[in-house]
């Protein structure tokens, strides 16, 4: 197991390196730069000086190596849009609203979705099954910025119950969290339902019934545990995946979180911030996959105990 984790960590490092090269080169391949004449009407020599100051006049691979050397020492540079602080300081500041929004969104949406999925699987073809399907389909097909807009229209514009944007006071949190929670809720409902149905149709469930086990025990002891195995592999990465979904929610509700900086960093060609955000996401994804694979192996005796029949 330890060897497995070590090997996986090496592959995380390799992935991280490849992604960093890709992003760095793609970021610079897009035409335009942070100090283009259109955006910043300064004399050419000032512009050159700025470029030199930020090291943007050097060959790309030198820039990359210098940048990565900095990353190894946890120095992600200085964001162009906010030169008074380091990228790390900015991220540390912007992290909090995103964590609250994303964390609460998943913590509310995921259990609801799982409950909905479980109920749907246990009461197949009942109203709750149809409700779950409807929620899952709508949640997955309606883009989150549409959901956000509908929420703002209903609760802020028409009913006037809640503020439409901003952060800070807890009542400002409600709408963005609700909007955001629809994504995990829909996804978890769908996955849970199909995983549970899959397990319920396994022959061993019939065997459990035949030996007289009460239905409640069958579901809570056997079916849930078996359904959890395929679910863990999707759940953790999805947790991170929803973080990217929060970009739109944050933009819609003007939440000063990572998402809004993500958007602005791309728009203003803020290379250091853009790079740092992308690398952070990459690392989080890699670790989430690693963690879910470990969890999978731990839950599944077939992997935990290897071997098997010939």
């Amino acid at each position: 197991m330890i060897g497995y984790i070590l090997r996986r960590l090496v592959s995380v490092a390799v992935t991280f390196f490849i992604v960093s090269v890709l992003i760095f080169s793609m970021m610079h391949a897009i035409p335009g730069g942070p100090f283009d004449a259109g955006d910043m009407p300064v004399p050419e020599e000032v512009r050159q000086k700025l470029l030199a100051q930020y090291g943007l006049d050097e060959p790309l691979y030198v820039q990359y190596l210098k940048y990565m050397w900095g990353v190894l020492r946890l120095d992600f540079g200085v964001p162009f849009q906010s030169p008074g602080e380091t990228v790390l300081e900015l991220l540390g500041r912007a992290w909090v609203p995103s964590l609250v929004l994303g964390g609460l969104g998943v913590l509310i949406g995921a259990p609801l979705g799982m409950l909905l999925g479980m109920a749907a699987a246990l009461k197949r073809n009942s109203w709750i099954d149809y409700l779950a399907s409807a929620v899952a389909t709508l949640g997955l097909t309606i883009p989150v910025f549409v959901t956000s807009m509908l929420l703002i229209l209903t609760f802020s514009v028409w009913l006037g119950w809640l503020p439409s944007s901003g952060w800070g006071a807890p009542e400002r949190w409600i709408l963005p969290i609700v909007a955001y929670a629809t994504i995990p809720m829909a996804t978890y409902a769908r996955y849970t339902r199909s995983a549970m149905l899959d397990t319920l149709n396994k022959p061993f469930v019939t065997v459990l019934r035949a030996k007289g086990l009460p239905e409640r025990q069958i579901v809570f002891k056997h079916v849930l545990r078996n359904s959890a195995i395929p679910l863990v592999t999707v759940f953790l990465p999805m947790f991170i995946g929803t973080a990217t979904g929060s970009i739109f929610v944050e933009a819609m509700f003007r939440v000063p979180g990572l998402g809004s900086f993500f958007v602005s960093s791309i728009r203003t060609r803020d290379y250091p911030l853009e790079m740092a955000l992308m690398l952070m996401l990459t690392l989080m994804f890699c670790l989430a996959y690693l963690l879910s694979d470990i969890l999978y192996a731990w839950l599944n005796p077939r992997i935990r105990h290897g071997g098997g029949r010939e």
């Binding site: 197991m1 330890i2 060897g3 497995y4 090997r7 290897g306 071997g307 010939e310």
Partner: protein, 322 residues
Amino acid sequence: MSAPAAAPALELRGIAKTYMLREGGTLRRRHRPLQAVRPTDLVLERNGILGLVGESGSGKTTTGMMALRLVNPSGGRILLEGDDITDLGVTALKPYRRRMQVVFQDSYSALDPMFTLQQIVAEPLVIHGIGDARSRAARALEWLERVGLHRSYGSRYPHELSGGQRQRVAIARALILEPAVLVADEPTSALDVSVKAQIINLLQDLQADMDLSILFISHDLSVVRSLCDRVAVMFNGRIVEEAEAETIFTGARHPYTRALLDAIPVLDPRRRRTRIFRDRDAIEAEGLTLAAGALSEPAEPSDEPALVAVAPRHRVEAVVTP
């Protein structure tokens, strides 16, 4: 190479397959070779039906797949009608693919659900560029009739058929190229009793009509008895006995063959008996020992078991003592 006219339909010379198994923990990983098939000789005579019999893990299916060049052997030669096809590449092999076809146990997954039966049966003609669209369609319908399905089935889809009917379609598709060799891997195992007999009869009829040679892979000795001319029994990756079918059923020598025969349920409730079983490990340990004098062809005494002839056309694995 000997004169092709005299060559058997299919000959396997010392064919073997070794898989490397990964085992142990992730830190100390070892590779252990698993001999799925030990070096094996097997001859499928022209116009003959050879039953390859064994249980799971015996290597019978791997042997069949190697004969078809669907699995590459680790050693040995494969001769199809006298031509060595062991090392042929994809292009060079193509004409030989026409000469040997296969039918599997699970015909449902082997038939493309999006194709009509006529398209399915005609597909080999398309692959090998034979005829035009019209003649292919006509031949496909002919073949559907020949395997006992009405022409109107040509426009149906696999899911509309019963297991027996699907197996008929699989046979039609395999035989439309008029191959010399058919490898049939448990083609009747998934079928109901009353349908099984139909498919066995169909294979017998077609074999006689087409001068076909069939390698019939099965675990079902009853079917083998009704269908095959010769039988080879595989056990733990090697052939332990090979003889004319009736010799196997009436005069088997190897303890494993006898155990297999003894396991067949007797269709007579008056002859019920309490049986004593030995498991496969015990049979493997026991083996068979024969005195050199008991052989029909001389063989060197040896501590290693080897296939020796105990009668004309009857080979059995034994340790030979002086």
